[in-house]
């Protein structure tokens, strides 16, 4: 079924009786050409692009819970391509281009909203660092503008320009950045993959990876053994546990990142605003809630919930930067599990086991990478060759010190990125 305004109209007039499931619930087959472990955003997009770009349709996505139940459904929905390091720059650039055509591609309204992202800076030194990043963005072919204080004031008149601990010197504006409706992205990819014949299997937890003579043979699951020629691990938040099934140790420590949403209020923030000194970023959802977050809680965690000190710090940052949001009330807070790597950048690579691939380490930047990650990972799984925009996301870069992409420049401590 194709979705469109006409379809909504027709169904509305006929009692909404014609709607069909967005995806099937098939029983797992005994064997697939490829199996994707993990039905989150990245896993679903990998399946979609395997089917669409590489004609691999005899594949399955195995999800231990429900589709899109991980970080893709618990984030602050920001989409951007404003990275400063070689390796990241080209990857996110490619991903953003996929976002820009996602609705047409998927026939699903993911509400990609290119409302612009402004990264504020608060000193001459920060301005120069942002200039270096902005120039990298333009070198890559993306958009960036350096705003001075008055330029920021024109866009964000509600910031506190006069009585603030860290005065606003200006901002780096990335107009093509914005937000998207997170759940819809997962569902759109799921529906797209399902329509191309991919089996999406929920409530199916992988309990083991079968390896013989250095080659992957399939997986053990709570719904039985499944043979596969290729297996891709795409399980943000559980990467270490699943990789351990194949005897691997990863350069990852899992951390909790909290996010917050307020009660709905009438439109008041039209952009995505990021305040580096306070590790605070905010946007307003189409439903009216202010969606915002801050830094990691900083301790390793799988609990998907945070604690008060970081929550308060985030609120403090909001109050010093834009005290007009003070009377908005936080409705809900939640935490996601972040795969933190030693340079803050992800991994899309083969493993030492033939046929076994891994896509992990997205830190807290995984949402915007959903299309790009799936596209590149599918390319790697299908062809055995690294996709050019993701070619630097190697596992061995830490050991060799080659091609590190340390955007935050904080070094090899996992939680500092």
């Amino acid at each position: 079924m194709r979705f469109s305004g006409w379809r909504v109209l027709r169904e509305g007039l006929t009692g909404n009786k014609g709607w069909a499931p967005h995806w099937r619930d098939p029983e797992p087959k005994a064997e697939y050409d490829a199996v994707i472990i993990g039905g989150g955003g990245h896993g679903l997009s990998t399946a979609y692009y395997l089917a669409k770009n590489h004609g691999m349709t005899n594949i399955a996505v195995l999800e231990k819970g429900y589709l899109g139940g991980g970080n893709v459904g618990r984030n602050t929905t920001i989409v951007r391509a404003n990275y400063g390091q070689q390796g990241n720059s080209e990857f996110y650039s490619h991903s953003l281009k996929l976002w820009e055509n996602l609705e047409e591609d998927l026939n699903y309204n993911a509400m990609m909203s290119q409302r612009g992202i402004i990264n504020l800076f608060h000193s001459d030194g920060q301005r120069d660092a942002f200039a270096r990043r902005g120039n990298m963005m333009i070198n890559q072919g993306d958009d960036a503008e350096l705003l001075d204080r008055e330029g920021v004031r024109r866009l964000l008149p509600y910031l506190d320009f006069d009585n603030v601990r860290f005065p606003i010197y200006g901002g780096l504006l990335h107009r093509r950045g914005g937000t998207a409706r997170h759940d819809a992205v997962a569902w759109g990819f799921a529906r797209g993959a399902d329509q191309r014949g991919v089996d999406l299997i929920q409530q199916c937890e992988v309990t083991g990876i079968d390896i013989e003579n250095g080659k992957v043979r399939g997986v053990q699951t709570t719904r039985g053994a499944i043979r596969a020629k290729k297996v891709g691990i795409v399980v943000a938040g559980r990467s270490g546990q699943v990789a351990a099934m194949a005897g691997m140790r990863l350069p990852i420590e899992s951390h909790v990142l909290q996010a917050f949403v307020t009660e709905g209020i009438k439109p008041v923030i039209d952009h995505v605003v990021s305040f580096g000194m306070g590790h605070f970023y905010i946007s307003q959802s189409n439903k009216g809630g202010l969606v915002f977050g801050g830094d990691l809680d900083f301790y390793a965690s799988y609990a998907q919930r945070g604690n008060m000190p970081m929550m308060e710090h985030v609120m403090e940052a909001g109050m010093t930067l834009m005290p007009m949001i003070g009377k908005a009330k936080v409705l809900r807070s939640w935490g996601g599990i972040m795969d933190m790597t030693p340079d803050g950048s992800p991994i899309i690579d083969k493993t030492d086991t033939e046929g076994l691939f891994i896509d992990c380490g997205w830190c807290y930047g995984g949402f915007k990478a959903v299309p790009g990650s799936g596209f590149s990972f599918a390319h790697l799984m299908a062809t055995g060759e690294h996709h050019e925009p993701a070619a630097k996301y190697r596992l061995d870069r830490f050991r060799k010190g080659r091609g590190l992409m340390d955007e935050e420049a904080t070094g090899s401590q996992h939680n500092l990125h």
Binding site: R249, P251, S254, Y299, A300, S301, S412, N415
Partner: protein, 93 residues
């Protein structure tokens, strides 16, 4: 979250700095080789369960601590001074 500092007593998490796995206590010899150093700095067991971590009570007494904590329940079962743990490690080796 509260951590029971062996010096200061039970204190709010906000007084503490987290560094990472307590593996950082076991610094390899300079010539231990690439794999040992990769292990030390990058690779992590990262268990969903109990683990030993390094924290510093930087908003309090300044002591570095080895905290045994569950990463799923956040329950803390032991806190020791890092210097004591390190001394014991030396004795044992």
């Amino acid at each position: 979250m509260r951590i029971d500092c062996p010096m200061c007593g039970s204190r709010d998490r906000r007084e503490y700095y987290y560094q990472g796995g307590a593996v950082m206590l076991a610094r390899p010899a300079p010539d231990a080789g690439e794999a040992a150093w990769d292990d030390y700095l990058h690779l992590r067991e990262n268990p969903a369960g109990e683990t030993e971590e390094l924290w510093q009570h930087d908003g309090g007494c300044g002591a570095w601590l080895v905290v045994t904590r569950d990463t799923v329940s956040h329950e803390i079962s032991n806190v020791a001074l890092a210097e004591d743990v390190k001394r014991a490690m030396r004795k044992a080796s």
